[in-house]
């Protein structure tokens, strides 16, 4: 029991990202409205970002900006003192790219609305099947 609790508490970041990812995936699959699907896609992307950032955390470490001074002699830098910069780099670009893909998705939704005058998936499918 104690070990199970330690598992739950020690890995809580993963449970949060799994929950967010399931919410986003469900919205993408099951929601009928295209804008809600796009919102689900964004929640999914946020889950991925949370996962990456939380893998970069080290207990007792600080942000990955190396302490430096202009006059002092070169000091040895210990990697354990700074959190992992790599997930931050990957997610930095991913956030901006996700905003750009959100723009494209909304543009496509606008075009779909102009063509079918609705954003509900079942009504669009009905119009496609019986022209």
């Amino acid at each position: 029991m104690e070990e199970f609790l330690r598992l739950i508490i020690g890995k809580y970041n993963y449970w949060i990202y799994i929950t967010l990812m399931m919410i986003g995936l469900y919205a993408m699959i099951a929601k009928n409205n295209l804008v809600k699907k796009i919102v689900g896609m964004n929640i999914f992307q946020t889950a991925i970002i949370l996962f990456y950032i939380s893998t970069g955390v080290k207990k007792g470490a600080t942000i990955p900006i190396i302490e430096h001074s202009h006059d002092a002699a070169h000091q040895a830098v210990r990697a354990a003192d700074y959190i992992n910069p790599l997930p931050h780099v990957l997610m930095l670009t991913a956030i901006v790219v996700s905003v750009a893909t959100l723009g494209v998705a909304l543009a496509v939704a606008i075009k779909v609305y102009h063509r079918y005058l609705t954003l509900e998936e079942d009504e669009i499918l009905k119009q496609i099947r019986e022209p």
Partner: protein, 276 residues
Amino acid sequence: MKTLGLIIVVLVGAVLVYATVDFPPFGDPASPASLHVSPRYIEKTVEETAVPNAVTSVLADYRGFDTMFETTVIFSAGVACFLLLRVSRRRPPASRQYRHRLTGLTFRVKDGREISLPLRDFEPLDSIWTPHDFIIEKVCRYLIPFIQLFGLYVIAHGHESPGGGFQGGVILGASIILLSVSHNLRTALQRMGEKASALFSPFGVLIYAGTGALCLVLGYNFLDYQALAALLPGGPIMARSHGIFLVEVGVGMAVMGTMVWIFKNLASLGRYDEGL
């Protein structure tokens, strides 16, 4: 469809939970992700690139190719929005209405006659016209220059503090978007036209790729900023720092242009005369 979706989602969640049992606990300094390549980045970044911010040096130097193509992805998204939405020619409306801001007088201009009015005093009345709010307009007018100054600071100071091209570019783009939300789209278009925003994003990508190509011309590998030591003072290590700065400026321009471009296309449905 809903039950099928729920089953798929629960299955995916179960697989993820099963895989998580083998994952390292939260905040573990010895987790596999922080053992292989990241210690090298942290320990060598000041020594090799003279950039204390490891995120910036990894972004623009060690993983320069990745960032270059991310910038290209953003540019392509802007182009995709433009191609999807932009309406090139549109019939002029039968009549236009203008309202004098101070007196509230409204008058009508008949069938497509072009008159030029000072938009400071007159505002066009569209189908989506909303009354402008004095407080919001004034507050934003004084706030936006400081937001833009902060954006430039974030781009230029990304070497030493949190920041860089992506963040600063988004701040600069948000300032233009704030202008168009608080005033209207026409005011924003007067400050930064469609052509400007559409040229900013490819030009930013060009600066990035051009820096890489310059290194190639000088006899080093693509994006190996040591080559810039032949052109800039400070030796090969400072040249890497300067190269990172050039690249960050390119990224900032690309991101700013694309954000504004996408927003304008979405907000006006590609027509560029109505909307917010």
